[in-house]
Symmetry: C2
């Protein structure tokens, strides 16, 4: 008898999270000999508990699936919901009852660390009750901080977005050679500097911006920063600095926490700003020159305008590989990427025990950061460059990207 599939999305969205959904749905529909229906969870496991799901074959009638492939954001909706540690909690039989009602034997969860925690718990619970349910995690995070995998889907497109914007802003700020300036660009990644490091890809020639790059993996010292900024201003009048939102000082305190510590607006509300805004004010006082800060913010995770064809293709393949793995009997695993070579870039797919992945974080290796702490090494660039290759055309209608809406 045919069994059914359900797929969910969880955590922060990326530009290619729907690519993985597309890959899993397409592969599931292909296996019509063994798979009956392909369901999608609405708003992850949290929404599923409330009875929210849809039949994904609805999208197969027209070009919807093709548009889903390049639509950013979580099409099925997302959640931030942590299952209880105690597998004896009544929520587990509730969830499994719903799986049974829908004859679901395969569950795929697309997400990062927290989502892999859900995969771990559900697969372990399945064993305790002898359920045939197989659970596979499909990695997703722009932060690129999952262990056991060379990189994660979503990182390549975010890295391409960051490098593109930094290159464009560098052209913008270089227009005023007669007016020295510092532009601080704040990039996502609170604990891991992968995305901030990717800004180095923007450089086109020697002494090109960004001249300074600060990752959260090393200590951010304000006096060292001032000295390095001064040196950079001697190289070019218009300096662009890239910082991770999570840079910290020697005491481990986030730089952004210094911001607005005593600041309140006229209504008495405490004002919080980011690390970039804080450094902007600080360096303006110190150097007395034009300073600006730019927070790339959520566009870096949700824009399809700089889709990496490599990233999208791998996201799709990860979804498809997960379905094949589950059909082959695997469970409690996450799809992982194995880099076979840098040049030419070659990748293969594998699986790793999700229990080892869910509570760990992969940071940028310290020897991929230069000794002065304000740049990444060639090894970092060799790692990151293949992941941003290739452009993907997003269908447009009436001048704007023609996304699919649920």
């Amino acid at each position: 008898m045919k069994k059914n599939i359900i797929i969910g999305q969880s955590g922060g969205p990326t530009a290619v999270i729907n690519g993985s959904l597309y890959g899993a749905v397409t592969k599931g529909l292909q296996h019509s000999e063994s798979i009956g229906r392909v369901y999608g969870m609405i708003n992850g496991i949290e929404g599923f508990l409330l009875g929210n799901y849809m039949d994904m074959s609805e999208l197969a009638d027209d070009d919807s699936l093709e548009r889903l492939r390049v639509t950013p954001g979580a099409y099925l909706g997302s959640c931030r919901y942590k299952l209880p540690e105690d597998l004896g909690d009544p929520v587990y039989p509730q969830i499994f009852e719903k799986f049974q009602e829908l004859d679901i034997e395969y569950f795929f969860y697309i997400g990062g660390n927290d989502s892999m925690d859900t995969v771990s718990k559900l697969s372990r619970y399945a064993k305790t009750v002898n359920s045939p349910l197989r659970v596979i995690g499909i990695p997703k995070t722009i932060d690129n901080d999952l262990i056991k995998t060379d990189h994660t889907p979503g990182f390549g497109s975010a890295a391409k977005y960051v490098a593109t914007m930094v290159r464009e802003m560098s052209l913008d700020v270089s227009g005023y050679k007669n007016t020295p300036s510092i532009t601080i660009v704040e990039i996502m990644g609170r604990h891991a500097g992968w995305l901030t490091g990717a800004s180095a890809l923007a450089r086109k020639h020697k002494n090109d911006n960004p001249l300074l790059i600060y990752l959260p993996e090393t200590v951010f010292d304000i006096d060292t920063f001032f000295a390095q900024a001064k040196k950079a201003l001697a190289i070019t009048p218009n300096v662009l600095v890239c910082i991770s939102e999570g840079i910290r000082d020697a005491d481990g305190k986030f730089i952004c926490e210094y911001s607005g510590a005593t600041g309140t607006d006229t209504f008495g509300h405490k004002e919080l700003a980011g690390a970039g805004k804080y450094l902007e004010n600080l360096i303006r006082s110190k150097f007395g020159i034009k300073v600006r800060s730019v927070e790339l913010n959520i566009c870096q995770r949700c824009s399809s305008s700089c889709l990496s064809a490599t990233d999208l293709q791998e996201a799709i393949q990860a979804g498809a590989f997960a379905v094949e793995a589950a059909l082959a009997g695997e469970t409690g695993k996450m799809v992982t990427f194995v880099r076979e070579s840098d040049t030419p870039y070659a990748l293969s797919f594998s699986l790793s025990d999700v229990n080892e992945i869910c509570n760990a974080e992969k940071k940028v290796p310290l020897d991929w950061i230069t000794p002065d702490g304000c740049d990444v090494t060639e090894a970092f660039l060799t790692y990151a460059r293949p992941l941003i290759q290739g452009e993907e055309e997003v269908p447009h209608k009436d001048g704007l990207p023609d996304f699919i809406y649920r």
Copy 2:
């Protein structure tokens, strides 16, 4: 005897300012029967005074001109330099001596309000000294605030960028239906709300975001805003609000001026944040829900990732039209756009007296803003929609846009 051309760029860059440069250079090189050399001013009139210029034919040897066409930012470098009001100032003969040294009879300045002021002064000075110099302004500003022209080159691409990002962010924030949220997007345009209004183009269906749009042309009242935000939250749990950086209250005070009025960081430096950050903190205190603010910042003026083919084409045509006009004997004029029809969209080119343009500002007509002050009307959309049509492929190399560098 053949005479020479010089072209300069001034003010803030746009995604298509080099499109106009490309148009003027290409047209100048075509007229080899009457034009000798085509020069470019480095860093505008300020750099030219220091003797900085280049021969643009250098770019004609390979694909450089083609890459220039889609390279954002001011390729020649920019300046913010105001010529003295007194035409008797010694700077005028200095400039004209340099024009004469290079046998320049045609000067084209690509820029906004302030650049048109330079065009005005130089053309008026030319008359006083019976110089044959002809000066023509080529409009450029993402703010779209020049009078006597239907719109300005640079606005269409910036509007397309704003609408695209707002559509993508709207997908992003709509992922969490179970968590009500407000996202405030701050858009450029201190005195004119054209770009902020363009965010309305992002809507795909009824009740789609952005649900609220505030332009600087109307009074921003905080209590009205709270009431409208509350109403919007009843329509959808994840509300996206677009505001102009220049929204002001009934007293004419910029909302961003309320920010950090009493705020200092731990080093005692005054912290300044934008209107979006200010409203973020305010509405978080008031509503107690998740609130985020996003400042689109300089990417909206310098990114080539959302180039409007219509905008780029018009920017090129404006540059070419300026050259033809000067050759036909015109001076002291700015190229203007005349909209012949909305559907099908049709445009023609004309000239207007630059003296009438240089110190005026075109704002969004009040009857293009809804009576409740939180949206634009269908008339606005009919005006803006044609300007974002068509996509332009930017050549890429090694995963990133392959721009040209001076």
